[in-house]
C-alpha cells in the first residue's frame, strides 16, 4: 500500500498537471500549431497517465491512453489540432479531474468522450478501425441565419471536424436572380459523416440554428464490400490489377445476361431522358430545376459507368470454345494444331464478346484450313511440326486489339490476286499493294464454298466477318509474311452502348462525332471558307491535314456562313479535318444501331436521340479518315 503522504503528493502533482493541461489546451486553441504547447500537452498527458498507473489509478491511465496517442499523432504531424480535439481534450481533462476527486468512483460520460475522440480521429488522417456505416445529413439553416450573424461556415467546419467525408452544397432553393435576397440563406448542404459520430454530437453542431432549421439525417448501413456481379463463368478468370477485375474473396453473383441487357437499355433511356431534362432545365432558368437536373445527370452518368462495368466480360470466357475448335480441326485435318491465348483477362462489353465469337471462330477455321501446312511440309521448312494459332488481346486507348496469328505459310498474294481478278473484284493486270489486296479477302463474293472444305465453308464468308466487325464499329487489319504466317487484327471500341460525343451542326442538321476520336478544333481560315477556294489542306502547326466539308459529304442544302469550324479527328490511319458550321458541345451519346435498311449508308456508325427528342446521326470517323487519306494520296499524285 501507498502511504498517505505519497498519495497526497501524487494527487497534488496530478492536480497541477490537470491545471497545466487545461491552460495549455486553451492556449493551443488560439495557437494550434505551436510546437512547444503541443509538446507540453503531450508531456502532461504522458506524465498523468504514467504516474496514474504507478499509483494504482489504472482508471485514469486507461482513460488517457487514447488522448496520449492522439497528441503523439499531432506531434508527429499526422494529425492537426482543431477545435474539436481541444473540446474533447478539455472534456477529458474535466473527467480526469472528477476521477481524481472521486478517488476511484466511476465517472460518467467516459465512454462518450472516448467515442467522440475515436470519431474525431477517424475523420482525420489517422482514421482506421471498423466502419459503423455512414450518416447522411441534409440541412437548410434558417433563412435568417446570416442576418442574425450565424456562421454556416462554422457549422460546416464543425461537421468537418466530426469527420465529414463529403460535403455538397444544395442549390435547389436558390431563387431566380431577380428574386434573390442576398441576406437570406438559400443554400443547403448535404454532408456524409462517419457512422461512429453520435447523433448528439451532430445535433450540437446546429445548436444555434435550431429555430427554422430543416435537418434530415439518416444512417446508412456500413457499406459491405460492394457485391460484384459477374455474368460469366469465372473458372479461368485470372485476377488482374486494376479496377475492372473483382478482387479475390469477393462474393460473385450470377445474373441472367438478358437482365444486364435490360439494364443497359434502361440506362440508355435514362441518359436520353436526362439530356432532355438538362435542356429543359437550362431553358427554364429555374435554379431549382437546374439543380435537380444536375443531380440526375450526376446519378445517370454514375449509373452508366457502373452498368457498363458490370457488363465487361473477359475475352478468356470464350477461350474454351477456341481450344475445343482447334482440337476438332486438328483431328479432322490430321495436323497437330496448338491454340494459345494471351491477354485473356482483357475485358470487353459482353455484347461485343458475344458477337465476336463467330467471326473469331471463322478466322481460326480459315487459319487452320489455309494457313497451317501439313506436318511434313512444316518439318521440311524447319518449322515445328505442330502449327500454332495464337489469340492475343490487349487494350490500346479506348480500343481493344484482338489478334489471331498463325505460324503457317502466310497469305498467298498471287492466289488472292488471281481470285480477285476472276471474281471481277480487281481489274485485269492490277498490281495493288498488300493492304488493298488483303482487303479483298473480305469483299463479298471473294470466298466461296466450292473448293473450301466443310470446315471453312458453312456459308459464312470473310465478308460476314468484316460486316460483323464493322457493326461493332471496329476495323480489321491483315498482315502476312510469306512462309511465316498471317495475323488478322481486330480493333474494337471498348463499349458499344454509350460514348461521349461532340455535337456539331451543319445546315441546321446536327451530327455527333465520337469525342474519343477528336484531336482538336480549329477555326477554318477565312481564305478557305468558300467551297473550292484554295487546296483541301490545312496547315496545322506545320503539318498538312486534309479536310472534308461536311456540307459537301452530306449534300447539305444552302451556303456555309462565316466562322466555320474544323474538327480534327484521328485514328490509327491518320488525321483529317471535318468542316462544320458550328460546334454545339459535348453530348452523352447513347448509340442506336442503324436498321438494316441503312446498311448501305457508310458515312454513319449509328444514330442517337438528342435532348430535344430529335434523331442525330453519328459520323463514322474511320470512314472519314479513309476518305481524307485518299485525298492525301491524290494530292500527292497531283503535286
Amino acid at each position: 500500500m501507498m502511504d498517505e503522504e505519497t498519495l497526497a503528493l501524487f494527487r497534488s502533482e496530478a492536480e497541477g498537471l490537470i491545471e497545466s493541461l487545461e491552460a495549455r489546451l486553451l492556449t493551443l486553441q488560439t495557437r494550434p500549431t505551436d510546437r512547444e504547447l503541443i509538446d507540453g500537452v503531450f508531456r502532461d498527458l504522458h506524465t498523468l497517465k504514467g504516474s496514474g498507473a504507478m499509483f494504482g489509478r489504472t482508471d485514469i491511465a486507461g482513460f488517457l491512453h487514447d488522448f496520449e496517442s492522439a497528441f503523439e499523432a499531432v506531434r508527429s504531424g499526422s494529425f492537426a489540432v482543431d477545435d474539436e480535439l481541444i473540446m474533447i481534450s478539455l472534456a477529458a481533462r474535466d473527467h480526469v479531474a472528477a476521477l481524481l476527486a472521486a478517488d476511484g468512483g466511476a465517472g460518467s460520460g467516459e465512454e462518450a468522450i472516448l467515442q467522440r475522440l475515436a470519431a474525431h480521429l477517424k475523420g482525420g488522417p489517422v482514421a482506421d478501425g471498423a466502419d459503423a456505416g455512414e450518416w447522411m445529413l441534409r440541412f437548410y439553416l434558417p433563412p435568417d441565419t446570416l442576418t442574425l450573424g450565424g456562421r454556416p461556415d462554422l457549422a460546416l467546419q464543425e461537421l468537418r471536424d466530426l469527420g465529414a467525408t463529403r460535403t455538397r452544397a444544395l442549390i435547389n432553393e436558390i431563387p431566380p436572380f431577380d428574386e434573390l435576397d442576398p441576406l437570406n440563406l438559400h443554400l443547403g448542404w448535404e454532408v456524409a459523416l462517419p457512422g461512429s459520430v453520435s447523433e448528439d454530437d451532430i445535433r450540437a453542431v446546429f445548436l444555434f440554428h435550431e429555430q427554422g432549421l430543416r435537418l434530415e439525417m439518416e444512417k446508412a448501413e456500413a457499406p459491405e464490400d460492394a457485391a460484384t456481379v459477374d455474368a460469366v463463368p469465372v473458372a479461368d478468370h485470372k485476377p488482374e490489377e486494376g479496377a475492372r477485375s473483382p478482387r479475390s474473396g469477393q462474393a460473385l453473383m450470377r445474373v441472367p445476361a438478358e437482365r444486364l441487357d435490360d439494364m443497359m437499355d434502361r440506362v440508355g433511356e435514362l441518359v436520353i431522358a436526362e439530356a432532355r431534362l438538362i435542356e429543359i432545365a437550362g431553358r427554364s432558368g429555374d435554379p431549382a430545376l437546374v439543380a435537380v437536373a444536375e443531380d440526375i445527370q450526376r446519378l445517370a452518368s454514375a449509373m452508366r459507368d457502373t452498368t457498363m462495368s458490370i457488363r465487361m466480360t473477359p475475352i478468356g470466357t470464350i477461350a474454351g470454345r477456341f481450344r475445343r475448335l482447334a482440337h476438332d480441326l486438328s483431328d479432322r485435318l490430321g495436323r497437330p494444331i496448338a491454340f494459345t491465348i494471351s491477354g485473356e483477362e482483357t475485358e470487353l462489353d459482353k455484347t461485343v464478346v458475344e458477337r465476336l465469337t463467330e467471326p473469331l471462330m471463322h478466322i481460326v477455321r480459315n487459319a487452320a484450313d489455309h494457313g497451317l501446312e501439313p506436318a511434313q511440309e512444316r518439318c521440311a521448312m524447319g518449322k515445328p511440326a505442330c502449327g500454332t494459332i495464337h489469340l492475343s488481346a490487349r487494350y490500346s486507348g479506348a480500343e481493344v486489339l484482338i489478334s489471331l496469328s498463325d505460324d503457317g505459310r502466310g497469305i498467298n498474294r498471287d492466289a488472292v490476286r488471281a481470285r480477285a481478278i476472276e471474281r471481277g473484284l480487281l481489274p485485269e493486270g492490277a498490281e495493288p499493294d498488300d493492304a488493298t489486296l488483303f482487303d479483298l479477302i473480305f469483299a463479298p463474293g471473294f470466298s466461296t464454298t466450292d473448293e473450301v472444305s466443310d470446315l471453312s465453308g458453312r456459308g459464312v464468308g470473310m465478308d460476314v466477318v468484316r460486316r460483323t466487325i464493322e457493326d461493332l464499329r471496329g476495323t480489321i487489319e491483315v498482315q502476312s509474311e510469306p512462309g511465316h504466317g498471317a495475323t488478322i487484327t481486330l480493333r474494337l471500341p471498348l463499349t458499344l452502348a454509350i460514348i461521349d460525343g461532340l455535337l456539331v451542326e451543319t445546315a441546321k442538321e446536327r451530327f455527333v462525332i465520337p469525342l474519343a476520336a477528336v484531336d482538336e478544333i480549329v477555326e477554318l481560315p477565312e481564305a478557305l471558307a468558300a467551297e473550292g477556294a484554295g487546296n483541301a489542306f490545312l496547315d496545322i502547326r506545320d503539318s498538312l491535314v486534309p479536310f472534308l466539308r461536311l456540307r459537301r459529304i452530306l449534300d447539305s442544302p444552302g451556303q456555309a456562313g462565316a466562322y466555320q469550324k474544323v474538327v480534327v479527328v484521328t485514328s490509327s490511319e491518320g488525321r483529317v479535318g471535318i468542316v462544320v458550321d458550328r460546334i454545339i458541345g459535348s453530348h452523352q451519346t447513347v448509340i442506336k444501331q442503324l436498321s438494316p435498311l441503312h446498311a448501305g449508308v457508310k458515312a454513319f456508325s449509328g444514330a442517337t436521340i438528342l435532348g430535344d427528342g430529335t434523331v442525330s446521326l453519328i459520323l463514322d470517323v474511320a470512314q472519314l479518315v479513309q476518305r481524307g487519306r485518299t485525298m492525301s494520296d491524290n494530292g500527292r499524285q497531283a503535286a
Binding site: Q29, G149, F208
Partner: protein
C-alpha cells in the same frame, strides 16, 4: 485577429466570470451593466459577438437586441442570450428580436467557449 465580444449582464460576478473566461481564450471583452449601457457602448464599435442576459434593469435583453439590430452596421453580428429562463416563448421572442442563440445559466467555461467557437469561429 483578436475578436471583440460585448458582455451584458447586471450581475458583476457573472460579467467578471464571462469576461475572464473569454479573455483567457484570447478574446477582447467589453462589458455593460444593462441594455441601455450596452447600446451606448456599441455605438461606433465593431463587435464580433454579443452575449447578453435577459432580465436587466432599464432595458432588457430582448429590447436591447431589437434596438441593436436596428442600428446600421449591426446586421450579421451574432447575439447570444445567457439567461436563467428557458421557456420556449421567450426564446422565440429573442429570435424574432434578432438573437441567434440562447444559453441557459448556469453554464461552465468550457461550454461558453464552445458556444463562442460556434458563433464567431476559432
Amino acid at each position: 485577429m483578436t475578436r471583440t465580444v460585448l458582455v451584458v449582464d447586471d450581475s458583476a460576478s457573472v460579467r467578471q466570470m464571462i469576461a475572464n473566461t473569454l479573455k483567457g481564450a484570447g478574446y477582447a471583452v467589453l462589458t455593460a451593466n444593462d441594455g441601455r449601457e450596452a447600446l451606448d457602448r456599441t455605438r461606433g464599435q465593431r463587435l464580433d459577438a454579443v452575449i447578453t442576459d435577459q432580465n436587466m434593469p432599464n432595458l432588457d435583453g430582448i429590447g436591447f437586441c431589437r434596438a441593436f439590430r436596428a442600428q446600421p452596421g449591426n446586421q450579421g453580428v451574432p447575439v447570444v442570450f445567457l439567461s436563467t429562463e428557458s421557456e420556449t416563448s421567450i426564446k422565440e421572442k429573442a429570435r424574432e428580436a434578432g438573437a441567434i442563440g440562447w444559453m441557459v445559466k448556469p453554464f461552465d467555461q468550457q461550454k461558453l467557449l464552445s458556444v463562442m467557437a460556434r458563433v464567431v469561429g476559432p
